[in-house]
Symmetry: C2
Subunit: 408 residues, 2 copies
C-alpha cells in the first residue's frame, strides 16, 4: 500500500468540482461540491446516531438502503438542512432531481449532504441552479478533487483529502477521500462529512462490513467538542473500475482493501481532529494495558474530550492531575493507584506519572514537549493487553470566538 | 421558611473563621477555613463518584461512616490533596490531629477538605500551624462565616453562602451553608465543596436520607465544564441545639427540614453555576413534558453542558439548533419533530421553536433576552408531566484564560 497524490478523484472513473453559488454569506467562498462516477457504484454509509437527524441524513439513509446503485454526491456548506421539517426533506429530493437531470442519471442515484447552521432553510433555487453550473465543470484531476474538498469546508482552516493505492489480485485499487470537520465534532457513527471514493470491485455487503468496522477505530475516536452533530455522514462509493475479482467474502483481498480504507480514514480523522475549531495542536490519547478494548476506548475518549485537559494542552501545561481526573470520571473501572503517564511529541518523550504520583519530571522539558503541533498522552493502566487511540485538539480562545458569534 | 442573613455560622452553636497561611501562591489570599460546633454533631455527606478520589475524600468517607460524632471541619484551598499517594492520606490524619488538639476535641471528630491543584503535596507544617492560629479566631457572627466562605474559594469570583429559618415543632431551626465551585464542576454526587450547618435535632439515618434526596435535585444538576472533580464533597453537620423533638422518621418535621435544606442547596447550586469559571451568565435549562424524570434530567444535562450551546449563550446568540442537537445526542428518546423551546430572562419571554421548527421570532428580542445575567431555556417535549432543571453557565474567553495557565 502506498500513499498517492489526490483525494476523491484519485480512483478511476471519479470526477469532482466545487463552486461558490451564494449559500455562504461571504459570496466568494465555495459552498457546493459535486462528486460523480461515470459508472454506477455500490455504496455504504454510516450516519449520526443523534435523535435529531438532518433532512439530508434521513434522505441518504433511504438511498443507501434502497437504491440499486448511486453515481453522484452533491453537498452544500453554509446551511445544515437540520430542523427544517417537511420542507427541508422535500429540498433534498429537489436537489437530487436537479442533479439527476444535469448528469443524466436517475434521481435515485444521487446522494445529498449539507453542513452549516442548523434551523435555516436551504436557498433551493441557488442549489438547483448550482448543480446545473457544476455538471459541465466536473474534472478528474487532483485539482478538481481539491475544489470539492474546499467547497465542503465551514470553519475548517485546511481542506482534508488523501488517497492510497493497494494491489489486489494483480490490479491496482485506489481509495481516496475527503472530509470536513471543525466544530460540533464528536462523531457517534462517523464524522461530520466524509466522502470516500474507490474503484475496488466489491459486493455491497462486504463494502458495508468494511466501513462499519473501520469507522469505530477512526472517525468515532475523534472529538473536538463532544457535540455529536445532526449531520454526521460518511459515504463510500465503489465503482469497480479497478477490475479486480469482486470481493464477496472476508478473504485476503478484503483485508487489503480494508487496510487501505483504514489508512484513508485514519489520516482524515487525525486531520479533522488537528483542525478542530480554534485548535493549535492535534492531541492524541493512547490508552494501553487495558483489560478490554471498550475500557481503553472509554478512558481515551474521556481524556481527549475534557475541557480542562484541552485547555491545559492549549497552555502547554503538564497539568496531569486533570488527565487522571478525567480517567476517573470516565465510567471505566481501573486501579487509581497504578496509572503511568507519558507525554510524547517531536520534542521527545517524558514519563510524567508512575503509579499515579508525579515522577518529579522537568516542567521545562514537559512544556517543550507540549508546545509542538502534535502531542501524544500515553496512558498505561497495567491491567492487560488491550489498547485504544483517540484524537482531539486543544481548547483555545479561538474556539470561543468562532462559536460565540458563528451566525453573525 | 424564611431566608436570613449568614451562612455556616447562622445555626445555633456554630462558629467559623478563615485565614491566609501561605498555601496559595498569592500569600495575602485566605486559604484555610475552620468550622466548629460547640457540641457534637450528627453528620451526613456525599462524595465524588470519580474513581480517582482525593485523599481528603477517602478520609472523610471513613469519618462520616465510623465516627460517633463530629465537631469540626477544616478546609484548605490551593492544593487538592488528590493523586498524592499514601503521604497525602497521612497528611489528612495529621491535619485532623492538630485540629483536635487545638479545639480539645477527639481527632475522630474532625473532617478535612481540600480544593485546588491536583498532584501536589500539602505543605503540612503550614496547615498544622494554621489550625493553631485559627482556633482562637473562631467566631459566631455573620462576618466570621463569610471569612470561612472566602477561604475556600479558588477561581470563584464571589463567596457563596446562605441561610434559612424554619419552624419545626414550635422551635426555630436554622440551616446555613457555604460552597465553592468555579472549575472542574460537574458533580456526580454533589458539588466541589459544600458545607451545611444546622441546629436541627435529627437522627443520623434521617439526616443522611434528607441529604441524598436533596443532592440529586440541586448540586448534581449543576455543570460548569463536565469535569467531575476528584474532590467533590458535601457535608451537613447537625448539632441539635434548636431543641426540636428529634426527627426519626419521614414525618411533617422531616419534610420541613428537607425543604429548608433544599432551599439552601438550590441557592448554593445556582450561585455555583452562575459563578462558573469565566461565566458572564447563569444558564438554567428546564425540561418539561417528559415521560419520566430520568429522561428530563438526561436532556437538561446534555443541553446545559454543550460547549456549543454555552458559547452561543456567551455570544447572546439564539442559535437554537445547537440546543436541539444537544437534546438529540443526549441518549434520551423523544420525538424530534415535537419540540417547543422558549428563552426567558428579566428582559422577557420568547417562543423560539414550535414543533422543532423556528417560530420566526425576532432575533433582536432574542438577543436582548439572552444578554441578561440569568437566562432560562424552557424545553417542552410534550410527552408527559415529568420535568427537571439543570444549571450551568456560558463558555467564554475567560474560561480559557483561567485554565490554560491555572498553575502558572
Amino acid at each position: 500500500m502506498k500513499q498517492i497524490n489526490g483525494g476523491v478523484t484519485a480512483a478511476a472513473g471519479f470526477s469532482a468540482t466545487g463552486l461558490a453559488v451564494g449559500i455562504k454569506k461571504k459570496s466568494e467562498k465555495k459552498d457546493m461540491a459535486l462528486v460523480y462516477s461515470k459508472v454506477p457504484c455500490k455504496v455504504a454509509g454510516t450516519f449520526t446516531k443523534n435523535v435529531v437527524k438532518a433532512a439530508c441524513v434521513k434522505y441518504d439513509m433511504d438511498v443507501v438502503e434502497n437504491s440499486p446503485f448511486v453515481q453522484a454526491v452533491v453537498v452544500n456548506s453554509g446551511i445544515a438542512n437540520a430542523c427544517t421539517g417537511a420542507l427541508g426533506y422535500e429540498y433534498c429530493g429537489l436537489t437530487a432531481k436537479a442533479t439527476g437531470e444535469a448528469l443524466n442519471i436517475p434521481e435515485s442515484a444521487v446522494l445529498v449532504g449539507s453542513t452549516g447552521v442548523i434551523g435555516a432553510q436551504l436557498p433551493i433555487d441557488k442549489i438547483t441552479e448550482g448543480v446545473k453550473l457544476m455538471a459541465p465543470l466536473l474534472g478528474e484531476t487532483v485539482e478538481d478533487g481539491t475544489l470539492a474538498a474546499e467547497a465542503i469546508m465551514t470553519t475548517d482552516t485546511i481542506s482534508k483529502e488523501i488517497a492510497f493505492e493497494v494491489e489486489i489480485g494483480g490490479k491496482t485499487v485506489t481509495v481516496g477521500g475527503m472530509c470536513k470537520g471543525s466544530g460540533m465534532i464528536h462523531p457517534n457513527m462517523c464524522t461530520m462529512l466524509a466522502f470516500i471514493t474507490t474503484d475496488v470491485n466489491i459486493s455491497k455487503e462486504m463494502l458495508t462490513k468494511a466501513v462499519k468496522a473501520n469507522v469505530e477505530d477512526t472517525f468515532n475516536m475523534v472529538s473536538v467538542d463532544r457535540d455529536t452533530s445532526t449531520n454526521d455522514t460518511m459515504l463510500v462509493l465503489a465503482n469497480g473500475l479497478a477490475g479486480n475479482e469482486e470481493i464477496t467474502e472476508e478473504n485476503e483481498d478484503f483485508k487489503k482493501f480494508s487496510d487501505a480504507l483504514l489508512a484513508v480514514n485514519t489520516y482524515l480523522a487525525k486531520k479533522m481532529a488537528g483542525d478542530g475549531e480554534g485548535a493549535t495542536a492535534l492531541f492524541e490519547v493512547v490508552v494501553e494495558g487495558a483489560e478490554t478494548k471498550a475500557q481503553a476506548v472509554t478512558i481515551a475518549k474521556s481524556v481527549v474530550t475534557s475541557n480542562l485537559v484541552k485547555t491545559a494542552i492549549a497552555g502547554h501545561d503538564a497539568n496531569w492531575g486533570r488527565i487522571l481526573c478525567a480517567m476517573g470520571y470516565s465510567g471505566a473501572q481501573f486501579d487509581p493507584e497504578k496509572v503511568d503517564l507519558y507525554f510524547k511529541s517531536s520534542a521527545g518523550e517524558l514519563k510524567i506519572v508512575e503509579d499515579s504520583v508525579s515522577t518529579g519530571y522537568s516542567e521545562e522539558k514537559a512544556t517543550e514537549i507540549l508546545s509542538q503541533p502534535e502531542i501524544t498522552a500515553l496512558i498505561d493502566i497495567k491491567m492487560g493487553d488491550a489498547k485504544a487511540t483517540a484524537w482531539g485538539c486543544d481548547l483555545t480562545h479561538e474556539y470561543i470566538s468562532i462559536n460565540a458569534d458563528y451566525r453573525s
